[in-house]
């Protein structure tokens, strides 16, 4: 079986500064991977490179997504192929309603798959159903996208969009930060409801409490642009207790 995502020796830099220094990661359908690591270690950079942010240049390595070279696709093509990034900091878009944005996004993906645009009534029904998944009030549909949304509302909106686009691979970048305890549970159960045998999730997080809800099959620690340790869910618990210092020392010894 081809893995859903296969990252091999990925190097990426920004303004001549190397941030990712050789990442290897394989994600199969049906799996949940957690990526943890200290601030500034390159987690968001990895997510951005996967999504196709053009500020970063990939200098070495390859990323195969469903067997296709991801780096050859534009950001919009990656999305239409089923990659989804939930942003650590979702952007505010004044003047574009959430409903219009989501409708345009969904119809672009449908067009890509050779499907007709959804009828307005069916679309509205679908949006309401998927909003219910993250307990978001339908009144958000008419509001400008993310404008004036609270931190937690923005994160729910990301998962709502994920639910609408039904991706093959979702990368959630600190979706738990800024969420209160109830919202964390709601968002996590939304993500879990979307899990299937033919899709996969990468969650980037600093906290075990998210992983109590979204239970990972693998946990990886990213430090200084490399994955320095991988394990099962117990690794996250160990990190919670011991912090990162012991890993940094281990990595320094190995290097």
């Amino acid at each position: 079986m081809t893995p859903l995502l296969q990252i091999t020796n990925l190097h990426a830099s920004i303004e001549d500064r190397e941030i990712l220094k050789g990442i290897d990661l394989t994600v199969n359908a049906g799996e949940v991977h957690a990526i943890m690591g200290p601030n500034g270690s390159g987690k968001s950079t990895l997510a951005s490179v996967l999504a196709g942010r053009e500020d970063y240049s990939v200098t070495e390595g390859s990323v195969l997504f469903n067997g296709k070279e991801l780096m050859e696709l534009s950001p919009e093509e990656r999305s239409r192929e089923g990659l989804f990034l939930a942003f650590q900091y979702p952007v505010e878009i004044p003047g574009v309603s959430t409903a219009n944005f989501v409708k345009t996004a969904v119809n672009e993906s449908r067009k890509h798959r050779g499907q007709e645009p959804l009828e307005p009534a069916a679309f509205l029904a679908l949006m309401r159903e998927r909003m219910a998944l993250v307990e978001m009030d339908p009144s958000f549909l008419q509001r400008s996208l993310n404008e004036g949304f609270s931190g937690g509302e923005k994160k729910r909106n990301e998962i709502f969009q994920m639910a609408m686009l039904d991706p093959v691979l979702a990368v959630l970048d600190e979706t738990d930060s800024g969420l209160d305890i109830d919202a964390l549970r709601i968002v996590a159960s939304g993500v879990n409801a979307l899990r299937r045998a033919d899709n996969a999730t990468i969650v980037i997080t600093h906290y075990q409490r998210l992983l109590d809800h979204i239970v990972p099959d693998y946990v990886h620690v990213l430090w200084n642009g490399r994955i320095v340790k991988s394990g099962d869910k117990s690794l996250a618990l160990e990190l919670e207790q011991r912090g990162y210092d012991w890993l940094k020392q281990e990595a320094a010894v190995e290097a």
């Binding site: 999305s79 952007v91 345009t104 672009e108």
Partner: protein
Amino acid sequence: MSTHPLVELAQRLVPAHVVSGDVESSDGRLDALRREGLREFVRMGIPTTRHEEWKYTNLFPFIGLDYSYAPVRWSERAASTDARTSMTEVASALGQHISIRIVDGVVEANLTNVPDGVDILELTSDIVENDKDVARTLGSGAPIGSHPFVALNTALLESGIVIRLRKGVQCELPIHLSVETTANASTLIAPRLLIIAEEGAEADIIHSSHTSGGATVLDVTVVEASIAATAHIRYYKIADDSDASRSISSVTADVHRDATFTSHALSIGGRFVRNDLAIRLCEPSSQGFLYGVSLLAQSEYTDNHTVVDHMVPHCHSEELYKGIYDGSSTGVFNGKIYVRPQAQKTTAYQSNHTLLLSSKAQVQAKPQLEIWADDVKCSHGATMGQVDDEAIFYFRSRGIDEATAKALLTYAFVSEVAEKISLEGLRELVMRRIARRLSAESILA
């Protein structure tokens, strides 16, 4: 110094008896006006960029062409397809409406659906002599002594349209004046429109020009509006023309007690557009609303010069212009607000916002507030920006391509002023143009 060809043309066109006529002779109001127009045009000549009001307006590339004047019936009437298409598009955006067309100088008005109390007249010397309202309004608002092209239009005054709304008439159907010109050689046209709204009248008046034939058409238009007490007129000046048109227009409106004049300057196509708009709030509680959308690409040029004159107390004006400039286009906005010493309790707001879609596009914006009264609320604001790269990436990461993302962001930018367009079809036409210009027609589905 040699005489400019356009001045020479005007001198040639105005008959000798008009030029030499003295007050004792038999000439009437129209000839007197034409004489004044010619005199002023010759005196002022063609403005150069050294002239403060014409600083950014480069007339040079086309003003010296060898124009012929075509106000009157042309023998050849090849209503060409270009003019047709853009004209039809505006007309169909309006749905049912009253149609007045000046096709190659010939007035073709279909007056079958004109309700009682709406007069649509051709501006003839007969009318000017015998109709008191027309005589009073014609030449009363237009700045003949300070705007060279108003002077030129007046010198050549030969045909025009009067739209008069009688007391209390609410004209349900929009009135569309469409000036359609086919030119195989450089042609000068000088349409004139008089709008006379009597007490309590209300109407939407749409004014557009359409050029075809490939040769340059220099359109020098003058519109004078007189808005009596409690009347409400919404005037739409649409530039949606071919690359061959060069349009210079002056619109003036005198607004009386409790009346409103709303102007929409919609530049959605056209190589060169210079709009002068002056609203005089001349009785208490009158209001002026000035809105504009300029959607420019390539080397297009749109220049909006506006003046709001608060002459008396308790008047209100609101101005909002938005420009979207792509390619190597240039947009100019110059907004003057005068608040006279006696005009206490004035509220006057002006804003002008620009979205630059290309690094080669240019904008010149200049607010000019001259306030001599102390108990007033006035403000102005101008912003200029580009589409936000972070926002574009957010769209793209959701499967929306860059062109569509730009179009949606541009829609968002323009919607504040587009919402002011009360005619839904016109609002949609503007949005359609944005989508087409930005190659994102899919968002219209």
